[in-house]
Amino acid sequence: MSSQEDKVKTLSETPADCQAGQGSGGGPFIVLFFIIGFVASLVVGWVIFPKVLYSQKSQPFDFNHRLHLEQVDDGCQSCHFFREDGSFAGVPKLEQCIDCHEDVQGESEDEAVFVEQYVAKEREVPWLIYSRQPNCVFFPHAAHIFGAKLECRTCHGDTGTSESLKPYEENRITGYSRDIWGRNIAGFKSNTWDRMKMDDCAQCHETAGIHDSSVQTGRDACFVCHK
């Protein structure tokens, strides 16, 4: 009986001895490898991956919002207007620009590109739209501008006073604009216009307490923003 107990004792001790022996031998290297690996994965995840994830595209030519805003009477809605049926026109078509831009004005290169490449050839400008939402989203501008009396700035930031267009960054996996996820890869935001995700819509809808029509969630029904 006692010999069996001894056997068990020695058996249970041996692996522990082995581990202790290895640990004291390779300890500093393991810690070093761990730190190197940890730092490497942090760099890959937070710096390299976001860079690889988004492709940078430039607009057909540059556009100065500030300059145009000074020229028009009705603010943003002078060019980004509502149609009679309540739908939002979004980015202006050539038709709206052509009144002033039939001939080259000023000396900027972008103006020359616009007039020669697009106005003269009657070609629509293939603008890349920063705030384009996924296909399943229905965003009624009318409800937010006339109903909730929001400013354009609340979601679009200071685009109206910008002097040049930033590069358009497209998510290579989803094909969506980076403005939807936001600049901050961790998803933090300090301004209301930093992100345009569903959470951001929901956050505002919840604080305003607008709807509570959903049976499932007690919040906004899905068929308010989805189509």
Binding site: F82, E84, D85, G86, S87, P134, N135, C136, F138, P140, A142, A143, F146, G147, A208, G209, I210, H211, D212, S213, S214, V215, Q216, T217, A221, C222, F223, V224, H226, K227
Partner: protein, 277 residues
């Protein structure tokens, strides 16, 4: 803000289909498919694969000539309210919150990006109004340019169904906001099938609004889940207690009787009060 919203009278959008007017032409099915970007299959007769948000069924009274009679029953999603508002068969079983019931409109929604295709809702639906996408939708070359931009196309692996053309409600609301209104007129929001029906058999509107034709036709008993007071109006499988918002109207008793399962010799509507008390 909240108070202002809750003071709005909630809507109960619903439909009345006059089966004595329906000729079974199928215009509603075509209009629905075009409006809602429903793709079609190589073999549409394969009912395991084909998707028909609106489907016209044919029934007969089974009698020999000259007493033989047929009736066509168009069947969209019935937008059941359930025993209490929102306890629809499909909504109560969805584990993904992909299908939902809106207390504001009474419409049962389906969010395709949220659905993961477990098909519980299809099993729960007593009307077979839900369809599963076994394949990605395919349109003939160039036809994708004719798709409705207001309706998102579905992908393989999700369930879809009639939405009462909700995109038209959204568009009508847009116009109302622009004009500083919150309420919609009856003719501003109409479904595609309603407008396509050449016989005018389909009527659509707010069942809560006494000025709307649907309310006048049905005279719904709102205390009893919207049960029709008009004796010529009935609902499919009334006694299940699903309280659908699609009503059918017919002057023929055998048609009204076909709307539910009855014992031999039992008359339709005879025990309605018993089953609901």
């Amino acid at each position: 803000m909240k108070q202002e919203q809750t003071q709005h009278r909630p809507k109960r959008y619903g439909m009345v289909i006059d089966l004595d007017k329906c000729t079974g032409c199928g215009s509603c099915m075509v209009a629905c498919m075009a409006e809602n970007n429903v793709s079609f299959k190589k073999d549409e007769s394969d009912k395991l694969l084909s998707i028909t948000w609106m489907r016209v069924y044919k029934i007969t009274n089974g009698k020999p000539f000259p007493d033989t009679d047929i009736c066509y029953i168009p069947r969209p999603c019935q937008h059941c309210a359930g025993q209490h508002e929102g306890h629809s068969p499909c909504v109560s079983v969805c584990p993904a919150t992909a299908t939902d019931y809106s207390r504001e409109t009474g419409i049962v929604s389906q969010i395709y990006t949220r659905c993961f295709g477990c098909r519980y809702c299809m099993a729960a639906c007593p009307y077979h109004a839900r369809y599963f996408n076994w394949w990605d939708p395919v349109w003939p070359d160039g036809m994708e340019k004719y798709l409705n931009p207001d309706v998102s196309p579905r992908m393989r692996g999700v369930v879809e169904k009639c939405s009462f053309c909700f995109q038209r409600y959204q568009a009508a609301k847009n116009k109302a906001y622009l004009e500083g209104r919150r309420e919609l007129e009856e003719d501003e929001y109409q479904t595609a099938c309603t407008q396509a029906c050449p016989a005018g058999a389909i009527v659509f509107g707010d069942l809560n609004n006494p000025d709307h034709l649907v309310h006048k036709m049905v005279d719904p008993d709102l205390k009893h889940g919207g049960r029709p007071r008009n004796p010529e109006v009935f609902r499919l499988l009334e006694r299940l207690g699903t309280n659908p918002k699609v009503y059918y109207k017919s002057g023929r008793q055998w048609v009204r009787k076909a709307g539910d399962n009855y014992l031999p010799g039992e008359k339709p509507g005879a025990d309605m009060h018993k089953s609901h008390s």
